[in-house]
Symmetry: C2
Subunit: 356 residues, 2 copies
């Protein structure tokens, strides 16, 4: 694969992912759901959480850490909530179903939440929040992840970088969406720096002695990320741990296995989704008009020296997606291409047809 | 008042606040509710948001910006939500009622949210979240505030420091509680530095040209606070604005009037409360046991050099409260004493009996 052929049509990328998942034993329906999540994430330019992850996700099947045939199901529910047993199925499948359930229950009562246990890496938290926004709802999405983050005063990891995302319908059909790790940076950025052999700022990681380091190699086996905004990020990460791992009855904090390490334990992450039916409290058109006013206020704020444009949460992702859709092709970074090529090798697929 | 008599019993402080509110025209019931919120906040050591604020809150009545006789009421509701018109009543009264409604509706459906519009400064966000934890629920509390925070790339304020708080029942009856502004610091810390004539770190505020400054004077008329964790805090503050001011149909962002400035506009803030009935999804005793395990993991994490103890969110406040309850007296900082003395003067109360 050369730098010349790093662009691919959305359809080809989608079909390639589906083909790999079928080979890995997933059903056509579940492969389609999962491909949609991963490819949409790539269209946003969030390449760290898109199709690049499929190779490692399918390895979880081969290692017996996840189950390609599993069918997630609701084990307990009430009017405005449901608990899913993900049964270690592809986490995108459980998560899409769980957000769909939250949306449908919120339609009836105004707000609903769903929790998925026995799950793994669910990709971009924002995808599921965005589903709610597309259904004219406010959406929240969060997951616990394996412990790789220290808390203020600790010298080793105790919590995950527990991401959280929200989305709300915006003006002119452009939703507002925030998708963040509660750490100073997403773990993927540390992996990227390690891949590229680049040093990192000294407030990202502590080393084995609890001291700041600029060396990203060795992580996550050695060291721990720091939370964003010190005690504030710590507190929010803990909230996510409570609303996912603790409340689901599944693993939490130090007991959450890392899904990317070579280890035999089944994955054991939990995700939580909340949907609020805006239309119940305010006519959706009025809400969107008000969002238009709010986002306009922000965009039109006088700019600081050196700033050309103030971006809304999710706007850079939205702009990336628009460009991809206009061209009907997406330009993939080298690490994504390498991962897809490796995936093709894992399952005897023709990766060159993907990029031809 | 001298440094010698800066301690007061909880009962005296409570009664003094009630007396002032009765003089200001509030009902006995509403004065009691409000005093309970403000005094509890002081027992946590969160003096910036406790009884110190009563003087300014009652001035809002005298200035016609709030209404001491107003009775907040639900104007629209569904199974799992309600919209309150606060009618510019004392915000603690509307907020306590709104969280009570969220708790009661969550009991029926598993989760519920309530929104209060036409309100003012509601004090410590954490108080209302803590109400949910005391009812064996998970609680979330948030409010918009007047614009005093810039967003990345802006050179002036566009959003409030929009605080958010959560609380969850913990092990051994000790709840976990986080109460934070989404700014680098709470505005009250800047006011405190200005009061004490101390410089501030240069990442707290930008000046009138959008440049970092160490001078806290002039704020909030001049300058803007920066969000915590850059785009992350910006995104969370925006979420709070959407879930409070936008969804309530009330003022949002740049249009929220500042409640402490000398200006005639009625207050116009909105608050949102969410309660999740833990017992629906998991027996509460099991949840508390799991919380005990989680908090134990964190407390027992090996400590970084120079750290004696790792604190849980809300633990310092809890410890402060325990000490106050043991001694049945609370030691107030000078700025709180001065404010209470001023309040006594405003209403012809005997402040010396409070501290004798």
């Amino acid at each position: 694969m050369t730098a010349a052929n790093n662009t691919v049509s959305i359809e080809k990328l989608n079909n390639f992912c589906i083909e790999a998942m079928l080979k890995a034993g997933m059903s056509q329906e579940n492969a389609q759901i999962t491909a949609k999540v991963l490819v949409a994430t790539d269209t946003w330019g969030t390449f760290t959480h898109g199709t690049k992850q499929l190779k490692k996700l399918l390895k979880n099947f081969r290692d017996g850490r996840m189950d390609p045939k599993a069918v997630p199901e609701i084990t307990k529910q009430g009017q405005s909530w449901a608990l899913y047993d993900g049964k270690r199925a592809m986490p995108m499948v459980s998560s899409v179903k769980a957000m769909e359930t939250a949306i449908s229950k919120a339609k009836a009562t105004g707000i609903a939440y769903t929790v998925v246990k026995n799950s793994g890496h669910y990709g971009a938290a924002g995808y599921y929040a965005h589903m709610a926004a597309e259904a004219d709802m406010f959406g929240l999405s969060m997951t616990n992840v394996d412990p790789c983050m220290a808390v203020p005063g600790a010298k080793e990891a105790v919590l995950g970088t527990n991401p959280i995302a929200y989305a709300a319908p915006g003006g002119k059909e452009k939703p507002v969406m925030l998708d963040i790790a509660t750490s100073v940076v997403a773990a993927s950025k540390i992996f990227k720096a390690a891949d590229l052999k680049q040093p990192i700022p000294n407030n990202w990681l502590i080393d084995k002695d609890g001291l700041p380091t600029t060396d990203p190699t060795g992580y996550p086996a050695v060291g721990a990320i720091m939370p964003m905004a010190a005690h504030k990020g710590y507190g929010i990460a803990l909230m996510i741990e409570i609303l996912t791992g603790v409340i689901s009855g599944s693993a939490f904090a130090k007991d959450v296995p890392c899904w990317v390490l070579e280890q035999p334990e089944p994955v054991d992450q939990s995700h939580t989704f909340i949907a609020i039916d805006i239309n119940a409290i305010m006519p959706i058109d009025q809400f969107k008009q008000r969002m238009e006013t709010l986002t306009g206020m922000i965009k039109e704020t006088p700019k600081a020296e050196g700033t050309n444009e103030i971006f809304l949460p999710g706007e850079i992702e939205y702009n990336h997606k628009q460009k991809v859709l206009q061209n009907n092709q997406i330009t993939l970074p080298k690490d994504v291409m390498d991962s897809l090529k490796g995936l093709a090798e894992d399952y005897g697929l023709e990766s060159q047809t993907l990029f031809s």
